[in-house]
């Protein structure tokens, strides 16, 4: 076989004082030009096991553009990259534990085999008290294909709603992230 693997560098918490190091101007706005597709706001509140809002976590999202294309060399689909759109966003929660992204609704993307994944945002949660980040996803309630999504299918049915954002007005989706306890968000081992 191949030569011996190098050992992985361990993860450590971002700590409470990342705000001068990681956030940057425009970090939560993925629209950087004349982006194609439906412009939406995705927002939510992050709470802990005591139900308290967490003012010092950071959310990062990665998503496809409106056509369902990731701006990355391993996405070999014959679909256009959107120059007006950047697939990565970062948002530190405010004093009320709220995050808010301005983005476009992603298109469906290929899944395992011949399956199709419903539109979603790959979502990481970083924070003090989190030695490693947590991985989750944000789906959209008005997508019929959610019923056939191969990743949602892995999640116990009673908990799937923790991954699906509600449409609270024509352009805003809301999904609260519950780190622990009642209504706990589904997190993934990856």
């Amino acid at each position: 076989m191949s030569k011996q693997r190098l050992g992985q560098t361990p993860s450590q918490t971002v700590g409470p004082f990342f705000h001068f190091g990681l956030p940057y101007e425009g970090d939560s706005n993925l629209i950087v030009g004349d982006a194609q597709g439906q412009r939406i706001i995705v927002e939510g509140r992050v709470t802990d096991g005591a139900g308290e809002a967490i003012p010092d976590v950071m959310i990062e999202i990665w998503q496809a553009n409106a056509a369902g294309k990731y701006d990355h060399p391993e996405d070999t689909q014959d679909k256009p990259v959107d120059e007006g759109f950047h697939g990565f966003g970062r948002c530190a929660t405010d004093n009320d534990g709220v995050f808010r992204f301005q983005t476009v609704k992603p298109g469906a993307v290929p899944g395992p085999g011949n399956s199709l994944q419903a539109p979603h945002l790959v979502t990481f949660v970083f924070g003090r008290g989190m030695l490693k980040q947590l991985l989750t996803r944000i789906y959209f309630e008005d997508e019929a294909h959610n019923a056939h999504d191969p990743v949602l299918a892995l999640v116990p049915e009673a908990r799937r709603n923790t991954l699906v954002a509600r449409k609270i007005n024509p352009s805003t989706y809301r999904l609260d992230i519950v780190l622990q306890g009642e209504g706990e968000t589904v997190f993934f081992e990856y």
Binding site: P10, Q12, F20, M130, Q133, E189, Y190
Partner: protein, 234 residues
Amino acid sequence: MADVIPYNPEEKGAQPPSLYPAYKSTVLRAPKQPLVILPHTLSEVTGPVYGHGKVLPVDADLTKQHAGEPLGERIIVSGRVLDENGRPVANTLVEVWQCNAAGRYIHARDQHPAPLDPNFSGAGRIVTDAEGNYKFTTIKPGAYPWRNHPNAWRPAHIHFSMFGPSFINRLVTQMYFPGDPLFAFDPIYQGIPDEKARARMVSRFDMDTTIPEWALGYKFDIVLRGRNATPMED
């Protein structure tokens, strides 16, 4: 579309649990439900490869971001970002942030009664070169107290954030300094189960990158998850 090639799993013992009660704020922030195992899809093996924004030379010299020189011991931190197969991770964004030489962060919520340094902010950004090399100049951060338990002190450290070739490679860690007497008392450092893996977070002093009459050199290599085959042939 062909199935994607997944990345290797977490190395057992090298990554921390979500719940580590000695680190008190994990207690209300760790999920209690089992994690759902996620096979990697196109969504995970892609990612923002080039990071974001423009990285300037001054972003790699934390001692040159203000009118004057910061106080403290000037150091040069360098190393490589690699995958588990030893291949360089090129053109990837490395973000660093730290407290000043007195152990104080330029952050409104840091109440440690140590002085701020008007000539030091403590944040930098570097993009790795084709061989995965990064390098930045800074001052050695101080240890500082925190309220995790009575007389709790964090060993001196620099925070590192890496993107890597896919979103699944995303890694935030901390770089420590050799021989720190606080390791044994620090639940964040001790939160890594495997002692050998823990030691990977400790930089080593390096005479080769030490610049005479100027700055001490420290080396710190970072290893991200790799995979057993490449998805595309050259």
